[in-house]
Amino acid sequence: MSFVTFIQHCLTGVSLGGAYALIAIGYSMVYGILLLINFAHADIFMMAGYFMIFSVSSFPWQISIPIVILGTVVLGVLIEKAAYMPLRSAPRMSIMISAIGVSYLLQNLATYLFSALPQAYPAIPPLKRQIRIGEVSASLVTFLTPVLTIILVFLLIFLLRKTKIGMAMRAVSKDYDTSKLMGIKINSIISLTFVIGSALAAVGSILYFTDRMSVTPFSGVLPGLKCFVAAVLGGIGSVPGAVIGGFLIGLSETFLVALGYSTFSDAFTFLLLILILLFRPTGLMGEDLQDKV
């Protein structure tokens, strides 16, 4: 592999990793607070793709971006209210099935409404600008993704670590009743989690689809699974962990495919995950808190 090819692969991997990281954070946050693997997250991400397609058909892209973020946030919060909130006191598995149900529903609804055919994702001209450095060529979005990811993540970490809201989120994650006794509005806190997670998914979707150019009802499935793995690998519930996981998976996937082992690219992701879990049973950055006996 020549040096130029190597750099090109790195670029692809890092950019992919950045988008993964943004989605992984959504999984991680919702898990952190509801202990719920939000299977629908991947499909919220997919819907964000469609929102952009529709929005761009009537508005310029500058206006579409906030519309897409807003729309995705509304969708995320709506799902929470309709499918998860009524199940607050239900067994964990029921909520998980509810999440799978929402995921199926979004996929099938999208298939039904927009057909299974891929729809072209609108090109956002500045993001698509070709940048050429020597032999390496890529569009701006490829360079932008990791940078934007890092900035957003720092903001988020600040929110979680340094503010009262962050503390309330961590409290709610352990015990609803006692949190209520502290005066915490748990529903608002949970909604906020979904707002943040969905907004990040929307940003992630813009970056991801701009790079990949088309959306289908099943576009979310594979990245969804990978991002979930990224979240677990990093230590589910931990934001920096999700980011590390995202980049790790983005890079390893790209290189595996590049080396001709594309059958094994997903398998390798999982192998990596299992190996890491064997040495760190709660992921790279996960809190290793067992209840005291």
Partner: protein
């Protein structure tokens, strides 16, 4: 009579009756397969899925281990069964891309002395065994992980299995990602034998389901089953009660995997043609869905769930997919893809309103039905989810392990043994 007291032997006779009726019905259906193809196909699938669901329930519902590796074990079983049972004459056509590995052909030639039914049983057992060995070895490191970490690790294992099966390196054994076809089905397919065409296509999966599920039920009701439940409730306390966590988790994991793999083999025979892609996470989610819809920790729930979900998804809701014109009026919404939308909505409704699944964690029993009917007759209001959920009254003596056979002394009398 309103005041009749439920007796144990009633249950026995009723069960026997239902079993006989079911057998008769199944036999009738399979002989008339050509007219009821859809029913036969859906029942076959339901039976196979109920086995997988029950063995998944053994892990998730009874042992409290959140495992998502089902698709992987099914794949192991399915591929083993398929590879061993594809008729020798068809092998070259199946492996048309890269050809079949010579050693495999050798093995198959040797095995071809077995009559087909025996070969199939043999293949299923081998599939189960391979899965069991896998389960045992990956269990050692993986079962130490907790809840969702275990889930994702087992899911990962399942995806790795799938990738390995479809890898080009194994092209000559598993036919890589092209899948296998010409797998023999359940029933007699060629006319001219002693049995009518189609015979066995339902009874074989039925007996398979019956025996495997019965085995799991026996395990659950044994002391080991109680140890599993203890682990589900509180690992620390279970360990303090002298229950070896790893050993018991592994036991549950291996049992579940072996049976899942055998069911995978059955699934291969049902599908007649398989590919690795079919054994993806989605398959596991589908099973999980069945388990939870049926009721986590309820065997009868899993069986019920398998039938309800499969029937709804594959059959009853089909009409939503085709445009319907009634008196020149085109019914809105009905077109391809609508069925799955309806299915997802129904699914959500079930989850939201039966949050503990159709059966909760209780089991089906004639006694429960009987009481429920009596209550209905007396006009006593029953609350949702409580239908079959009646705790037994405190017994005068410990409940016996195995229900008394008919004719044994009835409950109430204190007999010391």
């Amino acid at each position: 009579m309103n005041q009749t007291v439920w007796k144990k032997r009633y249950s026995f006779y009723l069960s026997l009756l239902v079993l006989l009726v079911a057998l008769g019905l199944l036999f009738w259906l399979e002989v008339n397969k050509s007219n009821y193809g859809m029913a036969v196909s859906v029942i076959q699938k339901s039976l196979v899925f109920s086995v997988v669901a029950v063995s998944m329930n053994l892990l998730n519902g009874f042992t409290g281990m959140f495992s998502l590796g089902q698709a992987g074990f099914m794949a192991i079983g399915a591929y083993t069964t398929a590879i061993l049972t594809i008729p020798l004459s068809r092998v070259d056509g199946v492996y048309y891309m890269k050809g079949v590995a010579p050693w495999l052909k050798g093995v198959k030639t040797t095995l071809s002395v077995l009559p087909e039914p025996l070969l199939i049983v043999f293949a299923l057992l081998i599939g189960g065994m391979i899965a069991g060995i896998f389960a045992f070895f990956i269990g050692i490191p993986v079962l130490r992980l907790k809840s969702d970490y275990l889930a994702i690790a087992t899911l990962g294992f399942s995806e790795i299995v799938r990738a390995v099966i479809s890898s080009p390196q194994l092209d000559r054994v598993t036919n890589g990602s092209y899948g296998l076809k010409n797998i023999p089905g359940f029933g007699v397919t060629q006319a001219g034998g002693v049995l009518p065409v189609g015979a066995g296509s339902l009874l074989i999966p039925f007996f398979f389901a019956l025996t495997t599920i019965a085995f799991i039920v026996l395990v659950i009701n044994s002391s080991y089953g109680r140890a599993f439940k203890a682990i589900r409730e509180d690992e620390v306390a279970a360990e303090a009660m002298g229950i070896n966590l790893l050993k018991h988790k592994q036991l549950a994991f291996v049992i579940s995997s072996v049976i899942t793999a055998m069911a995978g083999g059955m699934l291969a025979m049902y599908m007649r043609s398989i590919e690795a892609r079919a054994f993806s996470v989605t398959l596991t989610y589908d099973i999980l869905l069945i388990v939870v819809i049926g009721g986590l920790g309820s065997v009868s729930g899993s069986v019920l769930g398998a039938f309800v979900v499969t029937f709804a998804k594959d059959w009853f809701l089909r009409f939503f997919d085709s445009p319907l014109v009634i008196g020149g009026f085109q019914v809105p919404f009905l077109r391809m893809g609508f069925r799955m939308v309806v299915f997802s909505i129904l699914l959500m409704i079930v989850v939201l309103f039966y949050r503990r699944g159709l059966m909760g964690s209780s089991e089906f029993s004639w006694k429960g039905i009987f009481r429920w009917i009596r209550r209905k007759k007396e006009g006593v209001e029953t609350t949702k989810g409580e239908m079959i959920d009646y705790p037994d009254p405190p017994p005068a003596k410990p409940a016996p392990l195995i229900p008394d056979p008919p004719g044994a002394p009835q409950e109430g009398g204190r007999d010391e043994r």
